[in-house]
Amino acid sequence: MTSSPPPADLEKTTTTPSGVPAVRLRGIGKRFPGVIANDDINIDVARGSIHAIVGENGAGKSTLMKILYGVQAPDSGTIEVGGTEVALSSPADAIREGIGMVFQHFMLADNLTVLENVVLGAEKMHGIGGKARTEIRAISDAYGLGVDPDRRVEDLGVGARQRVEILKVLYRGAKVIILDEPTAVLVPQEVDELFGNLRELKREGLSVIFISHKLDEVLSVADEITVVRRGTTVATVDPGSVTSRQLAELMVGAELPTPSTEASTVTDQVLLSVRGMGLADSAGGRPLLSDVSFDIHRGEVLGIAGVEGNGQAELVEAIMGMRPGSTGTITLADVDISGFSTHRRREAGIGYVPEDRHRHGLLLDAPLWENRVLGHQTRKPSAARGLIRRRAAVADTQRIIEAYDVRTPGPDVLARALSGGNQQKLIVGREMSGDPVLLIAAHPTRGVDVGAQGAIWDHIKNARRLGLAVLLISADLDELIGLSDRIEVILRGRLVGSFDPSDVTPDRLGSAMTGAQEATA
């Protein structure tokens, strides 16, 4: 069988004279209807370096990576790989140019072995048998990945799976590896291992593009950091010369909001009381939630900080009644709602801004006014006596559009046609109507533009002023510190520490979130 050249040969063909960057992006622009995703992006990724790209969700990082991996074509600008301009119209083109991508969500078949997963789609390179196995072993040893080709993927942990994904990319001859939010799914020790692997790749002369919004990690691993804001590159900095707060301000483009601008409105009247909440893992692992207890007072914002996957999503869903099997009691304004259905909990006064607005917040192919009705099917003005009142719902949607500055031609437009920020403003407006006593906001500014972000922050502050209890979950520590009256840290399904946002730093929160504090205590 004739196979395509092994990596050694490939290296000759893409050998780069030092000084010429491995990848150079110049003036990249990409527009979607109503949105400018990328505008004048300029990045140089040096050979043998780790280049981090940071930015808020929605800043345009993922569009940029899709362009670099050939998934989407840019409207303007040029891409150079190793000094020559290339046109990437598909991932196959990108791979041919030596660009590989490791996605945040693994694309592995669980019931196949590592070998089978790696050769899948690349059968022509080294066959599917012994030669491929030898090659995988060689790559694994060369970069210290420690991957056994004959193990089944289902038996591997998350960190090992990620290494298989990296190996897949290397097997295909990549010289530039893009990692999209690789640490979101990892526990701290695995993060350290990953960083070890990345440094190994760097030492072998490969370039790593590392996308993240976790600033401390970026500062610890990257050689260069490019900040993306509102679709454009605002700065490229040396990690040795910036602090994470400076980076954060570059990302947001303004002074971060501070709680001192608002007088405390916390009262001693408890609105939400959660006692002994637990939730077993149906797969038999450690409990998703165990013995979670907290109170939120009238006019108080309680922030929940935690590394993603430590139980915050489950906590929200358990309070909303979407998680059968959760235990403990929930009292809302002196009413025990533990046995209530989601509908009755909403009627009892819970407003819910879900983490994933496309999956949980909207009917994308329905008009805005029907989305106004969603979650309020039983309440005026959208409905009465089992009937949906279209006219009243349309009128109330118009009210939300005006009051919450939703940029849309009108309430008959499909939700899909709006930008993320406007979709989110509509959701916030909807959840604030119907007189809630508790507002649950899960990652309320994820994937929205900066203008909408500020508006949503204002709405949350306003809810607090109106005397609501607010439960705020966010991965953005500055958002949590800026908005919350109190912060609880969740780790492996438990609340492990309570912080006062006026004297906590993102650093201290970060170490509590990863459990580092436990070790020192």
């Binding site: 909303m320 989601t342 509908h343 999956r359 009917l363 009705v373 949906i388 437009v413």
Partner: protein
């Protein structure tokens, strides 16, 4: 262009595109088989005689119920492929109840109709219950229940039936004359249009009202559009699955009744079968809208009826219309998707343009104010 007009034209364009494609593909099949294309189409597309008109309307009525039943499921992403079994169980239940004549006259008819709907609802409800509690795919469950229904009805028929004099045909007791539903004639045709057509119209209206105007309908459509968003909004998807399957089954229960009350008057071994599957195609063609479904049912019934003389007149098997009908289903799915994507793109462009315009005017007014 006016937004509503654009939407209307897009909605109309998709089925027309599908029909034109199906017409073309069928013609290619005819050409490939060496059959006279022109004559086949001129036979199919001739104006039907009054006798045939009656048959078309009567068949369309049956197909309409069948498609309506399927489309309720479609609105919630449930595929009720078991209309065939549901209507068999239901029509048998109705025939037994009506034949026993516990109540006089039309009260008996009403009781029988209720019995049919309950029987259909329960039969489909099994599949809903299995899906909600055990996660069994409703496609598998309903198709299995079809076989069980056929056997169960045959078994019960043998137990309950009376043998007709001088023949091997067995059936339930005849429905008393006072409980039958009379029809009306078109011109001088001897056959009559089933009076059950009134119920078709009522069912269509009820379908539209429940789905578009009630909370139940909203929950159903929301679950179909995004079950995750429905859950977050407080809809119990399990409950909706069971209720929707039961509603679908209740409508499916009406499929055989026009024939039962209009011409057969009892359920026996010769009762017309195979009425459950065409509904799937018609529901797709009619875009799950009662008017669309009514038109689709008329089209399918028309093709069936007009194909009868093909063998005699032009020597082509009437089964050619089965090809046309099958191709329609495929082209419908494709053309609706094309038109839907085009519509979404159009909408996004329009929103972007209008927002752009709003921004410029607000800037201008600012400048004027200055």
């Amino acid at each position: 262009m006016n937004v509503r007009l654009t939407k209307f034209l897009l909605g109309l364009g998709a089925p027309l595109l599908a029909l034109a494609l199906a017409f073309g593909i069928t013609s290619l099949v005819l050409i490939a088989a060496g059959d006279p294309v022109g004559e086949v189409w001129s036979t199919l597309i001739s104006w039907p005689e009054q006798r045939n008109q009656v048959n078309i309307i009567n068949n369309a009525m049956v197909l309409f119920f069948s498609a309506l039943a399927v489309s309720i499921g479609f609105r919630m992403n449930l595929f009720n492929i078991g209309v065939d079994g549901q209507y068999r169980v239901a029509v048998f239940a109705a025939a037994v109840v009506a034949g026993e004549a516990w109540l006089p006259g039309y009260l008996n008819t009403a009781l029988a109709i209720v019995a049919a709907m309950v029987a259909g609802a329960l039969w489909a409800g099994f599949a809903g219950l299995l899906k909600a509690t055990r996660g069994v795919s409703e496609v598998i469950a309903t198709i299995m229940l079809n076989f069980i229904a056929t056997s169960l009805v045959a078994f019960l028929l043998a137990k309950l039936a009376v043998r007709e004099q001088g023949s091997n045909i067995i059936g339930t007791k005849l429905i008393p004359e006072g409980s039958r539903i009379g029809g009306f004639s078109i011109g001088d045709a001897p056959a009559q249009v089933y009076g059950f057509i009134v119920f078709s119209v009522l069912a269509g209206l009820a379908y539209w009202f429940v789905l578009n105007k009630t909370r139940f309908g909203f929950d159903l459509r929301a679950t179909g559009a995004s079950s995750t968003a429905a859950v977050a909004s407080g809809v119990s998807v399990k409950r909706m699955t069971i209720l929707t399957m039961m509603a679908s089954g209740a409508i499916a229960g009406l499929v055989g009744l026009p024939i039962l009350f209009g011409s057969a008057y009892n359920y026996g071994s010769t009762f017309q079968s195979g009425l459950g599957f065409a509904g799937i195609a018609i529901a797709l063609l009619g875009r799950n809208h009662p008017v669309g479904i009514a038109l689709g049912a008329l089209l399918f019934a028309y093709l069936d009826e007009q194909s009868n003389p093909l063998q005699i007149l032009v020597g082509v098997s009437p089964d050619i219309v089965a090809i046309t009908q099958g191709v329609i289903v495929l082209t419908v799915v494709v053309s609706y998707e094309i038109v839907r994507r085009y519509g979404v793109k159009l909408e996004q462009r329009r929103v972007a343009a209008e927002l752009e315009a709003m921004r410029t005017t607000s800037k201008q007014t600012e400048e004027v104010a200055r």
